[in-house]
C-alpha cells in the first residue's frame, strides 16, 4: 500500500503547477518588463514615485477605515446575536446577503443614494436637506462596510460562542464592572475571531475595484483599481504586475500579522 504511487495527486498537482505556481511566477516576471518587453526595473522605479506611493497609502487608509467600521458595527452585532433566542437562524439571515451577487448590491446603492433616492428623501424629511451622497468617500466606505460586514460578524460570533460564560460570571462576581469584564475578559478571549475578521475584510478592501467605479465614481483609487486600470485600460501589463507584486507582499504581511495559532476553517 505504501509503495504504490499516490495517483490521486496527479490531476491535483497539475492544477497546482498550472494555476497556482505558474501565474505567480508570471506576475513576478512581467513586473520586470517595460512597455517594449525588455527586462528593466523601470516599473519599480515608477512605483516609488509620489503618485503611486500616495495611491498605495490612500488605498491602505480606506481599507483601514472599512475594517475599523466593520469591526465597530460587527462586534456588537455578533455579541448581541449570541444572546438572542434563535441565534443560528439570525446568523443565517446575516450570512444570506453574502450569497447575493456583489454587483447587484452595489447597483442597489446607486439607486438608494441617488439625488432623489430613499436616503435623500429621508434626509429631507428630517430636515437636513438633500446632499450629494453618491460618488463621495462616505458612500464608498458605507457600501464597502455593507458588503464586508458579514465576514466580520461570522468569525467573531464563533469566537464569542466558544467563550465559557462562567468566566464572565466569575469576573462579575469578583466585582468587575460590565465594561471592565468586557475589556479584560471577553475581548481578549475573542481576539482570534477579531483577527480573522479583520483579515477577511482588510485584504479584499485593499483590492476592491468595481465599487470604486460604480459608487465612488473613480474618486477613490485602490490598489485593485490601479491593477485593473493598468491591465485593461492602459494595457501596461508590466506596471500592473508590479502593483500586483506589492499587493501580494502586503497580503502576506497582513496574513502574518493576523495569523492565529489554532487552525480555523472559516473562510466564507
Amino acid at each position: 500500500m505504501q509503495k504504490t504511487r499516490n495517483w490521486y495527486l496527479i490531476p491535483y498537482s497539475f492544477w497546482i503547477a498550472l494555476f497556482v505556481i505558474a501565474p505567480i511566477v508570471l506576475v513576478v516576471y512581467y513586473s520586470f518588463l517595460d512597455l517594449e518587453g525588455h527586462f528593466s526595473f523601470v516599473n519599480y522605479q515608477k512605483f516609488f514615485t509620489s503618485t503611486y506611493l500616495t495611491m498605495t497609502l490612500s488605498s491602505f487608509w480606506y481599507a483601514f477605515l472599512i475594517t475599523l467600521f466593520s469591526l465597530a458595527i460587527g462586534y456588537p452585532t455578533a455579541y448581541l446575536l449570541t444572546k438572542t433566542k434563535h441565534k443560528q437562524l439570525w446568523l443565517l439571515l446575516i450570512i444570506l446577503p453574502t450569497w447575493i451577487n456583489l454587483l447587484l448590491k452595489a447597483y442597489a446603492f446607486i439607486g438608494l443614494f441617488s439625488t432623489y433616492g430613499w436616503a435623500n428623501q429621508t434626509l429631507e424629511a428630517i430636515g437636513i436637506g438633500r446632499k450629494q451622497i453618491l460618488f463621495t468617500d462616505f458612500s464608498f466606505v458605507f457600501v464597502s462596510v455593507y458588503i464586508f460586514i458579514p465576514f466580520m460578524i461570522l468569525p467573531i460570533f464563533n469566537a464569542i460562542e466558544k467563550l465559557n460564560p462562567s468566566l464572565v460570571f466569575a469576573a462579575r462576581d469578583l466585582g468587575a464592572s460590565s465594561f471592565m469584564t468586557f475589556r479584560r475578559v471577553v475581548f481578549p478571549l475573542t481576539i482570534d475571531g477579531v483577527k480573522s475578521g479583520c483579515q477577511l475584510v482588510f485584504i479584499p478592501a485593499l483590492s476592491l475595484f468595481m465599487i470604486t467605479r460604480l459608487i465612488a465614481g473613480n474618486r477613490v483609487i485602490t490598489l485593485g483599481t490601479a491593477i485593473e486600470q493598468q491591465f485593461l485600460v492602459t494595457q501596461n501589463w508590466g506596471m500592473g504586475a508590479t502593483i500586483a507584486v506589492f499587493l501580494i507582499i502586503a497580503m502576506a504581511i497582513i496574513l502574518a500579522l493576523t495569523s492565529t495559532k489554532r487552525k480555523k476553517g472559516a473562510t466564507t
Partner: protein, 267 residues
C-alpha cells in the same frame, strides 16, 4: 435591565434593516411602471416580460449556468481526488506545503487571480472567452472543494479501508464503495460552494473574458455603468429569488442527508 434589552434589540433590528433594505428596495422598484428608482408610479410586470423576452440576456444566463455547472463538476472531481491524495501523503512536510499551496488561491484577492490568469492564458495562446472563463472558474473552485472534503476524510477511520482491502476489494472498489460514499456530504458541500463561487464571481471573469463572451455579473456591470434601468431591477429580483431558493434548498438537503447518515452509525 429591561431598557438595555430593548436597546440591544433596536440595534439588531437596525442592522437587519440596513442589511436587507437595498435588496428589498431593488425588488420593490422592479414593479414600477416608471423607469426610475425614486417615484413609484404604478404596478407593472413589464420589466419582467422584457427580461424574459430578451434573447441576448437569456443566452448570457445560459452561459453563466453552463460555466457554473461545468466548473463546479470538474473542480469537484479534481478537488476530491486532491483531498484523497493529500490525506494519503505520509510525510508531514509535503502535506503542509500542499495545504499552503492550496490556500493561496483562497486568500488571494480576485484582482490578482484575474490579472495573473490573464497573463497566463495570453502566454499559452488560449483565446479569451468560454475556455478561459471555464478554466479560471475551475481553478479558483478547486481549493475550496479540497478544504470542504478533507475533514470528512480525516474523520473516516482507516480501518474501513484496511477491512475492505483485506476482504479482497480492488483499489477502485475501495474508492467507489467505501471512500466516496463516506465523504458524500463533503462532496456535496464542495460542489455547492463551487457552484456559488462561480455564479458569484465578477472580478476574475471580468479579466479573462474576451469580447464575445459574457456572464451575468459582467453584463450587469456594463449595464449598471450605463445608468439605472428597471430591467436590471427585474433581473436582480429573479436572481435574488433563485439564490434564496438555492440556499434554502441546499440547507434542507443537507439537513436530510445529515439525518440519513446519523441512523446507520458506523463505529
Amino acid at each position: 435591565m429591561m431598557k438595555r434589552l430593548k436597546l440591544a434589540n433596536l440595534y439588531l433590528i437596525g442592522v437587519f434593516i440596513i442589511l436587507y433594505a437595498p435588496i428589498l428596495y431593488l425588488a420593490f422598484y422592479s414593479f414600477n411602471s416608471a423607469d426610475n428608482m425614486t417615484n413609484f408610479d404604478s404596478f407593472t410586470w413589464d420589466w419582467y416580460k422584457e427580461v424574459f423576452q430578451d434573447s441576448r440576456l437569456l443566452i448570457i444566463v445560459l452561459n453563466t449556468l453552463v460555466i457554473a455547472l461545468l466548473s463546479a463538476a470538474i473542480s469537484t472531481i479534481i478537488g476530491v481526488l486532491g483531498a484523497i491524495g493529500i490525506q494519503a501523503v505520509r510525510k508531514k512536510r509535503i502535506e503542509t506545503s500542499l495545504l499552503t499551496l492550496n490556500s493561496i488561491l483562497i486568500v488571494s484577492p480576485d484582482v490578482i487571480i484575474g490579472a495573473s490568469f490573464l497573463i497566463f492564458f495570453t502566454m499559452l495562446g488560449i483565446q479569451l472567452g468560454f475556455t478561459s472563463v471555464l478554466l479560471s472558474h475551475i481553478a479558483f473552485s478547486v481549493p475550496i472543494v479540497v478544504i470542504l472534503v478533507l475533514p470528512k476524510l480525516q474523520e473516516m477511520s482507516p480501518t474501513l479501508v484496511d477491512a475492505a482491502r483485506d476482504l479482497g476489494a480492488s483499489r477502485l472498489d475501495v474508492l467507489t464503495k467505501v471512500i466516496l460514499p463516506y465523504i458524500t456530504p463533503g462532496i456535496f458541500a464542495g460542489f455547492f460552494t463551487a457552484l456559488t463561487y462561480s455564479l458569484d464571481d465578477f472580478a476574475v471573469t471580468f479579466f479573462v473574458t474576451g469580447n464575445g463572451f459574457t456572464t451575468l455579473s459582467v453584463e450587469i456591470y456594463s449595464l449598471a455603468r450605463q445608468g439605472i434601468s428597471m430591467k436590471i431591477n427585474a433581473l436582480s429580483t429573479v436572481i435574488f429569488l433563485f439564490t434564496f431558493l438555492l440556499v434554502i434548498g441546499y440547507y434542507f438537503l443537507n439537513q436530510r442527508s445529515a439525518m440519513k447518515l446519523s441512523r446507520p452509525e458506523v463505529k
